[in-house]
Symmetry: C2
């Protein structure tokens, strides 16, 4: 399957179906700036509690900085591997968990709880809705990237404090994701964690309930 | 602008642009079951940390139950209004915050941190990634709904404990959203909170940074 391009718009259902969490398929080519701008604009069109738009996007492309973050992630990967029972460790070993250098671009998404002032409409009852808004923006970005032939890989093997210092974010601003972004040779038909036998997909019928969760 | 239908698939960028948080535009017609199934299937295709798929969807359509939840939300709305300074209260008063009964369908999204067992690949460093996965599913659902001519309205004026009891969710499972879902007369061009002068959109350029957040 070849990657689509913006000249051939794909439907929202097709983007949802084809979206993958990419590690190994980055070509090494940079994301063209206009493409990066379009996918960040899509992210910025996300809904947010009280219309606070609490997200920011930090684009990291300096090779020495990508290498530094990749080194940090490699250490955290080793710690996780060491924590696994032997059989799970064997399943885990061949799984690639990041493409930080190969993608050429990192997008750190941050959440700023101060945006919107003291009275955020809709956040007073459910505090997490602020954080959730920034996550909705990530899914917009991810689906727009599919339409652009850009692969996205969400890396979560890092310490939040390390990443905050790395981008110069000060509390209460939190980095909530590192997204690798770059052109890809292809998007896999089957998610990596299924292909490598880590965990299979549940049937959707298991996730749907009527009136009560049972 | 009329609502699109599944017979006329829309591009992912168009879905992102047209998506609105709907309160007032529900027609009162029920969501056809096959449509509901398609948008929940789209939700279920979301990425998740360690492929845990930690979400569930509880469909609520019994009119007495919709009325009961709407009553709870009305009380929480009154409390928020009372907490505002007079000028903000005046801006808030005409803003409709839910369409629980009018939509005819509530979809409660829950997060189950136990799914995936004790070793969740990628969640050991950033605990919130489990919760984030369920939020990514919500954005998939929301965009698929646009393609189906279904409006979605995320309600967050509720107490989490109340909603957990309401659907029979037991700790550590958490309800994280109530989504009103139903056919709509139209999707507004401009978000409600902009139209009512609550808060305007920031330029996207304000949200984009290079290498460092500054």
């Amino acid at each position: 399957m070849t990657a689509p391009s913006s000249a051939h718009p794909i439907s929202v259902y097709e983007a949802i179906r084809r979206r993958r969490d990419v590690r190994a398929e980055f070509t090494g080519d940079p994301v063209p700036d206009p493409v990066l701008h379009r996918i960040l604009t899509a992210a910025h069109q996300a809904p947010s509690v009280g219309n606070t738009q609490p997200w920011d996007f930090v684009i990291i492309q300096a090779p020495d900085r990508l290498a530094e973050f990749a080194q940090h992630v490699a250490e955290r990967r080793a710690r996780f591997a060491a924590s696994l029972p032997p059989q799970r460790r064997e399943t885990f070993t061949p799984i690639k968990i990041e493409g930080i250098r190969e993608s050429g671009t990192g997008i750190v998404v941050t959440y700023n709880p101060k945006r919107g002032g003291p009275n955020v409409l809709g956040r007073h009852t459910v505090e997490d809705t602020g954080l959730f808004s920034a996550v909705l923006a990530i899914q917009n970005l991810w689906l727009a990237a599919v339409a652009e032939g850009i692969g996205i890989g969400w890396v979560s093997f890092y310490d939040e404090g390390f990443l905050a210092r790395f981008i110069g974010a000060e509390a209460p601003v939190r980095p909530i994701a590192w997204l690798c972004a770059g052109p890809v040779t292809q998007l896999q038909e089957t998610p990596d964690l299924e292909r490598f036998g880590w965990r299979a997909r549940r049937p959707v019928s298991d996730a749907i309930h009527r009136e009560y969760l049972r």
